[in-house]
Symmetry: C2
Subunit: 365 residues, 2 copies
């Protein structure tokens, strides 16, 4: 009802006669997290900031006054601006004499691309989005230690949250408790909207939490992560509130075994799609054939879905050492419930190190 009025007002605000309006809801954040990747900064917002990275490894940060203190934690050169005009002047000056610069086309709005082109008409802009993804897929020691810390925070929360369940509790209460514990144990914030679903809601992979009350015999699914100094973890556990039925035990056993099939397949050199196929095939040979409706996992890092490599049908990229991904098979029966188990793994030469350690058993509380 409101939408009709909104749309009418929107068309009223447009001079050109249009046949339609298209709004795309994309996956990435306009705040380009690569800013933090190349500067190594772990605090601050840095809205309206630009970093210029030179082949010699040095970099200039053009930042608003407000971020000067946060920026001083980086090794880069700091150029502070007071307003938009000054920021453009500094940018032009820094770019003087340059001919070709790399830009993350997937991290820049089309509007900002146009502005940039107007501001720097003589400079050729080259897309480096793929190079950024490839580079970020391989984690360095600093990144690995931050992700391990994020994993260990989530582990602690996972082990303690079970004790908070009680009959008739709402899903959103458990979600609030999880988020509280994440921060208490050292996370800067939850890595994404925490999922805590009960009963048949567990059959919806993208369900977060609502007003549903906990009833004996329910599946309880927790899917959350910690964000620690911009790096994320992502873990899922499914348990039963009360005594598990035979069917619930079977579902859980199949998913746990499927995940083990995934773990066992991991080593550098195997393609993302091959891992997914092995896990998918395992589930499709059980009575839950066709009930695994998403990919087996994704790359993890500064973004929760860190891109490029994943355990999915279409990914023919080979695993390399020091990649970090999730392994998260699931089985979903609409109207009944679902089971998903998810852990984060660090790819080694001949195996993978599992980074998340809370119990994977079917716990009955």
């Amino acid at each position: 009802m409101y939408t009709k009025k909104r749309i009418s007002r929107l068309y009223g605000n447009i001079e050109e006669k249009l046949d339609a309006i298209m709004i795309k809801n994309a996956n990435e954040a306009f705040k380009d997290i690569n800013f933090f990747y190349v500067t190594g900064l772990s605090k601050g917002l840095f809205e309206g900031s630009t970093v210029l990275v030179y082949p010699n490894g040095k970099f200039d940060m053009i930042i608003p006054e407000l971020e000067a203190q946060s920026a001083s934690k980086s090794t880069g050169n700091i150029l502070v601006y007071k307003d938009k005009e000054e920021s453009e002047e500094i940018l032009k000056k820094s770019m003087k004499g340059l001919k070709k610069i790399g830009i993350n086309f997937s991290g820049l709005s089309y509007q900002n691309y146009i502005k940039l082109n107007e501001l720097l008409p003589k400079i050729k802009l080259i897309d480096i989005s793929m190079a950024l993804s490839k580079t970020r897929a391989i984690k360095d020691d600093d990144e690995i230690s931050k992700i391990k810390k994020a994993c260990s925070i989530a582990d602690k929360v996972m082990e303690s949250i079970r004790g908070s369940l009680s009959e008739n509790m709402h899903e959103y209460e458990i979600s609030a408790e999880i988020n509280y514990l994440l921060q208490k144990f050292g996370a800067d914030r939850p890595a994404f909207d925490t999922i805590s679903s009960f009963g048949k809601n567990t059959a919806e992979p993208h369900y977060t939490h609502g007003n549903t009350k906990l009833v004996k015999g329910d599946f309880v699914l927790f899917d959350f992560g910690a964000s620690f100094e911009k790096y994320n973890s992502d873990t899922t556990r499914t348990i039963v509130y009360g005594v598990a039925s035979k069917e619930q035990k079977l579902m859980h056993e199949v998913v746990k075994s499927a995940q083990q099939v995934g773990f066992d397949s991991l080593s550098s050199g195997i393609k993302g799609s091959e891992v997914h196929e092995k896990v998918q095939n395992y589930i499709d040979e059980t009575k839950f054939k066709g009930r695994f409706i998403h990919s087996t996992g994704h790359s993890l890092g500064l973004d929760v879905h860190d891109g490029w490599i994943g355990f999915s049908k279409d990914c023919d990229i080979e695993l390399q050492e020091n990649m970090i991904l999730t392994v998260e098979p699931g089985v979903y029966i609409p109207g009944y419930g679902g089971v998903r188990i998810e852990d984060d793994v660090l790819i080694r030469k001949d195996c993978a190190e599992i980074l998340t350690h809370s119990s994977r058993q079917l716990i009955e509380v």
Copy 2:
């Protein structure tokens, strides 16, 4: 140290010889919140989804299978796709015969713009970002009621969080408690990274929270909001832990009076810059001249910084009825501390309705 290696690997991943790489960290989210504005949906993620809005007020949503249930809460036509190819086919089919469509250039990455142009080579794409901002600046009844709900949740948290302060408590503990209460009182999530700062940290407007411990005599600054069905509130209060000094009382009094100057100036027809000037001038006539270092307020809605209109030096846009903005003067003394008081207001014809109601007094706890 890590950054140098990263940059070297990044350059190693790029074939073209570049003079530099530029990464811009913009303000907007790639997940275009306008998707929710025109569909009226308040739940779901809708990643990779597209909405086509026609002049007659009807709309088609092209969405992945996972979102079908969430989408059914909208009045639009639902077109479900299974994979990327099918989504492109549906899009092409829907666009058949159209000549010119509006696009939010500020909500679409340049990469996605290129892809769209390739997919629909015969259709002219027109920028409607300004029209979206103008439309969204005026809130309808549904939006006002959601923002009021978000304000009342934040009010409740603000009134109760003071009771949680105790000596030697860490900033991050209070932040965790605020976020917990926000969800407990009905928020879907915090509207933004909650700020809870103590002592001299209160002098940094963008500081969020850290390991600092609470000491008697500290300023304590809370700046947070509730997100309710995608709509946000944004409130700040500054209090003193223990007995306030004469200087602290004076700082607080000046900021509170400056805010009142802002409130008193509000009515439809006044320019954003005029409100800011009045508040700025008030502070600059006190001993805290030059200590108010940011703008007086911003538009509030689906985004916390909802864009277009604001109480800032450069904004010559006139206020209109049913705009919602924040009024948030502050005074900051580096190394000593800061005071900010922030409330959300709904512009009426001859005045403004204040939507946030927790006490604005200098409370000593």
